[in-house]
Symmetry: C2
Subunit: 199 residues, 2 copies
């Protein structure tokens, strides 16, 4: 890689540190930036700095926002009586994309993981309980991941909320839509069978 001038090597090096970007792709992107108009490169650089400067956490759901309240929490047409609990902002976006939920969100910012030293006080479970105490919430939908940490987090939150007059539900696990049964793993199929429902 010493064939390139140092400023090019420096940019290749920085880009290749981004997740999923190898050295070959970083080289290609760097050469693209070199070829593109100076204005485009400057705007890209400005956007990177701006995203760090302006984005903060929504005070209500702890999602990403560029003001005190995010677009969803500030939307009075949404149903505030139903709360969807997710691990990360990207999970919230995934639920939003499905178009199947018109309530509010609560972002934990992680999942319980004793192996990694992440306990109930390290994710926003107390903030969730305060919400349930303070507001008129009818239902809490637990949409944490379906891996060990996500399942443990869902079970823990369900236990914490037992004493409150709120319905606690968990998103369904099972065979993906459009999927062929023979390609579905055993654990998922077992779960799909156990949680079968009337049609």
């Amino acid at each position: 890689m010493t064939y390139y001038p140092s400023s090019i090597l420096d940019l290749i090096n920085k880009i290749s540190k981004l997740p999923g970007i190898g050295e070959k792709t970083a080289e290609r992107l760097t050469l693209h930036i070199l070829r593109s108009p100076r204005k485009d490169a400057q705007e890209l650089a400005q956007s990177i700095v701006k995203v760090k400067d302006t984005v903060r956490l929504c005070k209500k759901c702890y999602g990403l926002s560029d003001s005190d309240l995010c677009k969803i929490c500030g939307d009075s047409t949404r149903d505030a009586s139903i709360l969807c609990v997710v691990e990360q902002p990207a999970d919230m976006v995934a639920v939003e994309k499905s178009g199947a939920f018109r309530g509010m969100y609560h972002i934990l910012s992680g999942a319980l993981s004793p192996m990694n030293g992440i306990g109930p006080d390290d994710i926003r479970i107390n903030e969730l309980i305060s919400k349930i105490e303070g507001r008129q919430v009818n239902e809490v939908v637990l949409a944490t991941g379906t891996n060990v940490e996500g399942e443990a987090t869902a079970v823990y939150i369900a236990q914490c909320l037992e004493k409150y007059p709120v319905k606690v539900t968990r998103i369904a696990s099972g065979v993906p839509m459009g999927g062929d049964l023979k390609y579905v793993d055993q654990v998922t199929l077992k779960k799909a069978m156990e949680t079968r429902h009337g049609v």
Copy 2:
């Protein structure tokens, strides 16, 4: 995508315009930049601006450089009597990586393509001829692409150089190393057969 604040959407949009980066990857990279330390994001932005500000063309080979002469043209240990002609700076880097060439380069900055209105005066063929006239060059290796444009460019340059006392060679085409003959396309295999050589 309206679930994100506008500064995030703006960065996703700019990153997804880079070649080979789709909207999903752009989203992932943007969220990574958001999570990473402010210093890293600022340094990435600075590197992007710096690469546009400092990189220019080498006055001798027209490759990428951050000074008047690139590292290769400024290296007195390299053989100035043999000149490798390539289309783009990235091609020069590919030849360098092979480690099989210790001469100098000449970068055309394109290939002849009448369909796209690119004629001999649009790529640096006159500059190549001036080099041959002005300097002691014994051999010119034509390492343009093996597509129609690259082949046409090689043939054209070979004709231009006929009247000069310089050996003109073309890099070999054929079966890729480690390749299985049954997976090689017909045109490549035909070329490999036609240009067979003694062992």
